[in-house]
């Protein structure tokens, strides 16, 4: 056996074994998750990610609050805020559209709790630092000197007693005074969150602390208290004079606060008009039909290849299965969302792999038909097919990268994922056709027993 064939075989077996491990829906060993070094710690679970068209989603329709009539500019700004929030709720791209100038339609893929989504989308996103005085507040929701917006959380309950008129707390600072919020790795269900102030906000906080050294400052999100602390105790000033406020917040609140801060306050108050299952058919139903149709079509195509090309046909089928396996594995680990666009992109690259394999097999059949010895015909076919396979993959790789970059640049997510899927398919097609199939063809046709068998039964070569 040639040394290169041995190496190609070893690499193929290892990669295929790893791909099988990834594709299986099992609890993956930690070392497999550890291979996903480009993902942050805690986000290395290996699972399918479905896009809007193939995942079960809800279509949420939001309209401006009846009291307010936002301008076109406000509505556009609200749309951008909602887009940013919807993105923070999903691992893949949500669909957010503005219809009829005052209706926002949102679909968040793979999110099963529409109530949680609507709460985040509607939240005004107002972060306040309030002066709570010398006593720790007894209620979770508070009133502040900034009267609006009202809290949108329908499930929240006031936990304290309110026999007397509620205290109205003084708002010291808001989102506008913050530069960023940094989350630190979670521990015991809590996040360390660091609020960094803009210079003006930091200056105001320092002045406040000098005048009120023993008073509490609470951080609220839409009038709900997230955390309270004595400011002098926790306030930090870095070497550059920047003021920071590190606190500990419940994990979910911290994530929501950071996401809402990043997306900005909602310029117009929104109300939920409708929540309904998305699409003419639910995504899972489409996925099921797609799966069934692909299996039927693929079975017919593979049967044709086996019937027409016989033994080489079997090699083509095996190489195509390897292409499919590797593509699915890459979908899971990148992760690449499963959408109709990505399925189309991978399907097109599957055809490229098939074309490349057929170009090898057709040459093999022609050379054998012309009377060449099998071993010479194999080597001749593999070497003469290479320029064609290389050039095709190069040109398609160029199209894939152009599509990917253009899609990402103009924020057309469907086109971007099509490009990514085509680029992924180009790589897996190259592996299946140039590494796996080369090793397999040389192993099978290099065997003396197979050569003897084929010399007697040439019909096995489809001749």
């Amino acid at each position: 056996m040639r040394k290169s064939t041995l190496w190609q075989s070893i690499v193929s077996v290892l990669i295929i074994a790893l791909a099988v491990l990834v594709v299986l829906n099992i609890q993956h060993p930690s070392w497999v998750q550890g291979l996903l070094f480009w993902r942050p710690q805690g986000e290395r679970e290996i699972d399918w990610l479905y896009g809007v068209d193939l995942g079960d989603t809800h279509r949420i329709t939001l309209t401006p609050d009846e009291e307010g009539k936002p301008s076109a500019d406000q509505m556009q700004a609200t749309l951008e805020t909602v887009k940013s929030r919807a993105k923070s709720l999903s691992k893949t791209d949500p669909m957010v559209q503005l219809l009829d100038d005052n209706t926002i339609v949102v679909q968040v893929p793979s999110a099963h709790d529409p109530n949680a989504i609507t709460s985040t989308l509607q939240a005004p996103g107002l972060i306040e630092f309030i002066n709570a005085g010398t006593e720790y507040p007894t209620t979770r929701t508070v009133e502040t000197t900034l009267s609006k917006p009202q809290p949108p959380f329908p499930t929240l309950e006031i936990t304290g007693t309110q026999d007397t008129a509620p205290t109205v707390y003084e708002t010291l600072m808001t989102n506008n005074d913050l530069e960023y919020i940094e989350l630190r790795p979670p521990s015991y269900g809590y996040y360390g969150a660091k609020f960094r102030f803009k210079p003006s906000g930091g200056k105001a906080l320092i002045e406040h602390n000098q005048n009120h050294p023993q008073e509490y400052i609470c951080v609220t999100l839409d009038k709900r208290i997230l955390t309270c602390a004595l400011a002098t105790q926790f306030m930090e000033t870095d070497l550059g004079g920047n003021v920071e406020y590190p606190v500990v917040i419940e994990k979910e609140s911290a994530q929501t606060t950071a996401a809402l801060f990043r997306s900005g306050m909602l310029p117009a108050q929104l109300q939920v008009d409708r929540v309904e299952p998305a699409g003419p058919t639910p995504g899972q139903e489409t996925l099921q039909k797609l799966g069934t149709a692909v299996i039927i079509g693929l079975a017919a195509a593979l049967a044709f290849l086996l019937a027409h090309y016989r033994l080489p046909g079997l090699l083509i089928v095996l190489a195509l299965l390897v292409f499919a396996l590797l593509s699915l594995a890459l979908c899971k680990i990148l992760p690449l969302p499963i959408t109709l666009a990505t399925v189309a992109g991978l399907g097109a690259m599957g055809l490229t792999a098939l074309g490349a394999l057929l170009s090898i097999v057709e040459r093999l059949r022609n050379r054998t038909r012309d009377g060449q010895a099998l071993s010479r015909a194999v080597e001749g076919s593999l070497s003469t097919a290479w320029p064609s396979v290389r050039n095709t993959h190069l040109a398609l790789g160029l199209l894939a990268i152009a599509t990917w970059i253009v899609g990402a640049t103009v924020a057309a997510q469907t086109i971007r994922w099509l490009g990514v899927s085509m680029a992924t398919g180009t790589l897996t097609s190259l592996f299946a056709t140039m590494v796996f199939s080369h090793a397999l063809i040389r192993l099978i046709f290099g065997s003396e027993a197979i050569q003897a068998l084929l010399s007697e039964r040439t019909w096995l070569l489809g001749i």
């Binding site: 195509a301 074309g355 064609s388 160029l398 599509t403 924020a411």
Partner: protein, 213 residues
């Protein structure tokens, strides 16, 4: 050896009729509905249309340059580059015309998946043209002294089986999608099917003619 180029003008006429029909469908649609292609504005981001246009344009510029670079030693290489653009444009125009026709007959509106299908069809065109050019380049070296026209004809015939087998597999899968994929997938599968049939024909007959004009 079968001479495909000899009967070339009939293939050119057939391709011309298909282009004329496509353009007619687009024009009639533009006259009746104001747009050559009815766009589903609810389900299509304007960015998707823009990105498809730019990606197609970038491909139309870079792939011919790549063809010129890959086969720079071959005779008539500029014609090869030009033929690549013409074939890609032809293969793209026909699905556009088909969709415009379906828009008028069945109320189809171009959504994001239509633009995905267009880019995939461009990819499939590349997938067929580049191997043919590679085969012509290879045969040009192995059959030195043979007239260029004969080399092209020989290459098309040698590629014919592989092209047909690949496209037959694609057609089998797309037909399955058409009949059992459901309503959501139907327009995508139909557009791709039209694209695949069109480029199977063009890669065998139209490209050979363009290369020898």
């Amino acid at each position: 050896m079968l001479d495909i180029i000899e009967n070339g003008r009939w293939h050119l006429v057939a391709a011309g009729i298909l282009i004329a029909l496509s353009i007619t469908a687009l024009v009639v649609s533009a006259i009746t509905s104001g747009l050559p292609l009815a766009l589903d504005t609810d389900a299509t981001d304007p960015q998707t249309v823009q990105a498809t246009g730019i990606a197609a344009l970038v491909t139309a510029i870079t792939v011919p340059v790549l063809v010129w670079w890959l086969f720079r030693g071959a005779p008539n290489v500029l014609r090869w580059s030009a033929s690549t653009i013409v074939v890609m444009a032809y293969n793209t125009l026909v699905p556009f015309g088909f969709y415009a026709l379906m828009g008028m007959l069945a109320g189809w509106q171009a959504d994001e998946l239509f633009f995905v299908a267009i880019l995939v069809v461009i990819g499939l065109s590349i997938q067929d043209v580049i191997p043919l050019l590679s085969r012509i380049s290879e045969n040009g070296s192995t059959h030195r002294g043979e007239p260029y026209r004969t080399v092209v004809n020989r290459s098309v015939l040698e590629r014919f089986n592989a092209t047909l087998a690949t496209r037959l597999c694609a057609i089998l899968i797309l037909v399955a999608l058409l009949f059992s994929g459901g309503l959501v997938i139907l327009p995508l599968a139909a557009t791709l099917l039209v694209g695949v049939i069109c480029e199977t024909y063009s890669s065998t007959f139209v490209t050979a003619l363009l290369l020898t004009l």
